[in-house]
């Protein structure tokens, strides 16, 4: 299977560790077999009253195995876990590299599908793929081969008997288990329904209490719960077979070995002294089989996780990316968009159609329209989140597709509504944009972004830990830091995609004023549905259903008394708090 092969690629570099680990695991079980076989032989021989000296080798053997088991176990645990952790590290790194090579657009899609969270869960699942999926069958096989060899020294019937039962206990049980697990989806679905009702009960608590329907929902969970319990027991009745089948086969192997042994002794084909060691040895060999009892569910789980992780690799960037040739100099930075159309990979309707605009250096452009009118699509295409399908975009006369992404992202900066702050200090978050920035520069950027009054309230100042996703700061504060970050980055073209969402109107206006004067000779694209702070824009494009419905300055558009005017009137009734 190709997924197994891919997983194996991660294991391969550690084959020395693996070999040693497998050997130690084998010796751990082998020691126990050795202990029981020599002990049984010791007792059997002692019963025949030999001279004490004849027993000394056996006594030494028993003592050796008595000690070696613990030592091998420790070594095996240590080495195999170490290998597992290294393999996990490689898988994690590989996942990061695959994700890193995706276009921002593809990443956004993964985000919105909550796939990233799932991938982290998958990495957790793969933590023990080596320990749970690869190691046990190999060890079981080695134990099988060596036990079979030992038995072949005695009689072929004993060997044949062992082959049959070992085969049944491994492949037979695995087959039964895989049949059982096919019915698990029904169980998972039932649990999912119950979970959804429980989530509804908590998230919809206010509505439930207000409508007086809490009892009804409690009843609903009781019903769904008992259905789940019924399915769960039904499933368990089958899945519990795995362990008890192995138990049964273990007992039957012991029984048949004993029976065969007695028959062989009766017919003079086996020395009677070997009966006890053989019985105990065969039974002890089943320790390796018990290690396989969870193999089928583990394989299922690991394969499903691995499949999702490897699927990311398949999502390679749409078009080969031009190689970064350092700072490929572009004389000027005029952005020309002509006849641009784009349909999302999963979309039916084009998101934008025949968009045209020029953004010469120093021009400040506003793009406005309702949610879903295609505003953000334009900014995403300018930043090559996606490859556009029709029309052209040129920067400094060069086709966007021929410009290396590194250069493009250095030139065009984006502050969007989905600001992300890293779980680090404020300073570290700012330095991401310009690692060489001085203290002075950092403070100036925060000042321009109107963060100064907020900074004064943070006792640790720039060293403030912003928390996971910046959650220790308010939404507005996060936006201001994102603005400061972009001020530090100092791009030639700045895209503000609803960047001031969540700010109070005064701060918003001040921050935008500061940025406008900072960018006086450079270009700005301001995307908004709020229609505030647009009066100083050189041109405003009004989008409707992906098409340009109107364009002009704020004053011109108001005079037209058309789309923009109507929206503007509506927007005035907006939030004030």
């Amino acid at each position: 299977m190709s997924i197994f092969k891919k997983l194996f690629v991660f294991i391969k570099p550690y084959r020395k560790f693996c070999t040693l680990g497998i050997l130690l695991s084998f010796l751990t079980i082998g020691s126990n077999m050795g202990l029981l076989i020599t002990s049984a032989y010791l007792i059997s021989w002692a019963a025949l009253s030999p001279h004490i000296m004849e027993l000394m080798t056996l006594v030494a053997g028993v003592r050796f195995f008595g000690i070696s088991r613990g030592v091998f176990r420790y070594g095996e645990r240590y080495l195999n876990h170490k290998t597992a952790l290294h393999i996990l590290g490689k898988i994690r790194l590989n996942l990061y590299q695959s994700l890193e090579s995706l276009s921002p657009g593809q990443l956004t899609t993964l985000h919105s599908g909550q796939l990233l969270g799932r991938l982290l869960g998958d990495i957790e699942n793969l933590k023990e793929v080596y320990l749970r999926v690869f190691l046990p069958p190999i060890v079981a096989f080695l134990i099988f081969v060596s036990t079979a060899y030992l038995l072949s020294l005695f009689h072929q019937y004993l060997l044949l008997n062992f082959l049959i039962f070992y085969f049944l206990a491994t492949f037979g049980v695995a087959y039964v288990t895989s049949l059982v697990y096919k019915g698990k989806t029904k169980l998972t679905d039932t649990k999912e329904v119950l979970n959804m009702t429980l989530v509804d009960s908590i998230r919809g608590l206010t509505e439930l209490l207000t409508s007086g329907r809490t009892k009804e929902y409690q009843q609903k969970t009781v019903g769904q719960n008992s259905k789940f319990v019924r399915f769960k027991l039904e499933f368990a009745k089958k899945s519990a077979l795995t362990n008890s089948l192995i138990q049964l086969l273990n007992g039957l192997t012991l029984f048949s070995t004993l029976l065969l042994g007695i028959l062989l002794i009766n017919t003079g084909k086996l020395k009677a002294i070997w009966l006890a060691p053989l019985v105990l040895g065969v039974q002890a060999s089943f320790e390796a089989v018990f290690g396989l009892s969870q193999l089928v569910p583990n394989i299922r789980e690991s394969l499903a996780s691995a499949k999702r992780i490897f699927a990311i690799e398949e999502l390679s960037p749409q078009k080969p990316r031009p190689v970064n040739d350092g700072n490929s100099l572009i004389g000027h930075h005029e952005l020309v968009v002509s006849n641009l159309s784009f349909t999302y990979p999963d979309g039916k309707q084009p998101a934008i159609q025949k968009i045209n605009f020029n953004l010469n250096e120093g021009k400040h452009l506003g793009i406005v329209g309702a949610i879903g009118s295609g505003k953000s699509t334009i900014s995403h295409l300018l930043l090559k989140f996606w490859d556009y399908q029709e029309g052209t975009i040129t920067l400094g006369g060069k086709d966007l597709n021929s410009i290396p992404e590194n250069y493009l992202w250095k030139t065009i900066g984006l502050v969007s509504r989905q600001t992300y702050l890293f779980n680090a200090t404020l300073r570290e978050n700012l330095l991401l944009a310009k690692s060489t920035a001085t203290e002075q520069e950092l403070l100036e950027a925060l000042d321009l972004a109107q963060f100064k009054p907020h900074l004064a309230q943070l006792p640790a100042g720039l060293e403030t830990k912003v928390g996971e996703g910046g959650r220790k700061l308010s939404g507005g504060q996060r936006q201001l830091i994102a603005l400061a970050r972009m001020i530090l980055k100092d791009p030639t073209i700045l895209i503000l995609d609803e960047a001031t969402e969540g700010l109070d109107p005064i701060t918003e206006a001040q921050a935008l004023d500061a940025i406008r004067s900072l960018m006086a000779n450079r270009s700005i694209i301001m995307i908004t549905h709020k229609l505030t702070n647009l009066n100083k824009m050189d041109e405003i494009i009004f989008l409707q259903e992906g098409k340009i419905a109107e364009r002009g300055t704020h004053q011109e558009l108001l005079k037209e008394q058309n789309f923009y005017y109507r929206y503007y009137q509506l927007a005035k009734s907006y939030h004030f708090s």
Binding site: S39, L42, I43, A46, A47, L55, V62, I67, R69, V71, R73, R92, L93, Y96, L107, L116, L120, K127, E128, V199, D200, G204, L205, T206, E207, T210, S211, R213, Q218, T221, N225, V229, L233, A240, N243, S244, Q247, L248, G251, L254, I265, A272, I273, A276, A370, W409, Y420, N423, L432, A433, E468, G469, K489, E501, D504, K530, T532, Y574, H575, F576
Partner: protein
Amino acid sequence: MTFSPTFTIGVCPMINQQLIKLAKGMGNSLILVILIGSLSGLLIIAQCFLIAELVDGAFLKEQGLTELATGLSALLSLILLRAFLFWAGEIFSLKGSLQVQTKLRQTVLGQVFRSGPLSSRQQDTGQMISSLIDSVDALEDFFARYLPTLALAGIIPLGILIIVFPRDLLTALILLLTAPLIPLFMMLIGSLADKWAKKQWHVLGKMNSHFLDVLEGLTTLKLLQKSLKQTKTIEQLGREWAETTMGVLKIAFLSAFFLEFFMTISTALIAVSLGLRLLTGNMDFQTAFFLLLLAPEFYGPLRNLGTQYHAGISATKAVENVFRLLSSSPREVQFGERPVNKEILNKQIKFENVSFYYEDQRQALRKITLSIQPQEKLALVGASGAGKSTLLQLLLGFAHPQAGQILIGELPLSAFKPESLRQQIALVPQKPHLFRGTIAENIAFFKPAATLPEIKTAALKVGLHQIVLELPAGYETIIGGGGRSLSSGQGQLIALARAFLLDAPLVLLDEATTSLDPVSEEAIQKALAELLKDRRAIIAAHRLATLKQVDRIAVLNRGSLVEIGSQAELLANEGFYYRLLNSYLGKTSD
């Protein structure tokens, strides 16, 4: 994410009292599981005895198959019975576990319903959900596996000791002396490893949180051209993490070492001592072999306990979560039995010196005094956290104010039956919850008996009808968890439609703070105007257009009432409201 618990360490976690209390909920199943366990213990001993007898028969007594046939068939039936008991034991322990979980789910849910939305802060819903779902799920392995294993670890070795003692004192002593050492060493080493892990938690937790952080912000990193640099950091952190984890495991695995060591070394000791006594004729083979067979069975259950360690640890954590939720005793909300009708809700509503604190002692409302006249529409204005939502929730009877009182007409709010009161109030929450079900069911949430034509009328009034018709299954489209997701604007329209359908005399509206685009805003404003027509309303307002529809405005600041009056009065006052509005209007009218 702290020390990864899935690595089997092999320590007996402390059983706390809460877990024992829960275990009693297993009822008969627990007794059955213990019975089955004891019976299997007996069978193991019998099996060992039979094997010893059979081997002795064939080996020393030189008996043939005919003489041994009875013993062999007894052995075969024992083996079959043991396999069956093993299966039955698993089923009964699962059954008991499911009983405990079922009971716990209902208890937690009941607690959530009793406490109401005011006792838990909104941010805690995630925590509550994880307690109710993940933590309760995590208890399964504890009751279904760990507890039975624990019981067996007590019963089987004891049974074996009883058998061994009269037969051979030396073997019994070896077993008796080593047995307590195993759990003792496991516990000592376990707590040592735990301490070590806690010391290193910073490094151990950093890897996962950093990885998550980087993935979440990958787009940002790419645009700032810092994403490639992270490859190295991840590699390095991964290596650090692996090393630290191994440092902890190095200690933790010592318990596995000691477990195996004690088990095998004492088996070896027993074998050697038995062999020597056989040699001197102080013992017969059958007894010696029987004792040798019993030795591994004696330690087996203790080893199994080690492999179930994980279930024990995660259960302790899970049960902590659940009990934290259960122990936050809800404030008893005592209400009267008086029914509420439309007339009562048309009387004056009065807040007299109302103060309210959250459970964490934060004050939400400070001595609010205000009265709302019949037919009046009142807007509450103020920053988030000013107390607007709390005021609305007190009116719904989700909690009593700690000081002051709310009067409806002459009677305190607490005299009325809350269910009856809520029937007469249409609530439009800030973030309406869409339940899993059809759109029709969701619109009819406050009035489940509504007919489809009534539902459609309500949808028409808020401008939702056309949107619903465009969905593939129309009013039968499944929304909510796992269903089709709606935009937040559409969610708000559904909340308004719910209020329409209920047709209550009083509307409590908690306006959404997030801004929508003009098209959606217009739709909502239109629907709202329609809803407020001829109805009394109290509105936590965020929109200017809404303020134009109310009679009076109450301005709240940090839980206190700052100003109250009509729009014109407040503007003339040039106070808090004036400044608030000017800061906004000043920026949009340019």
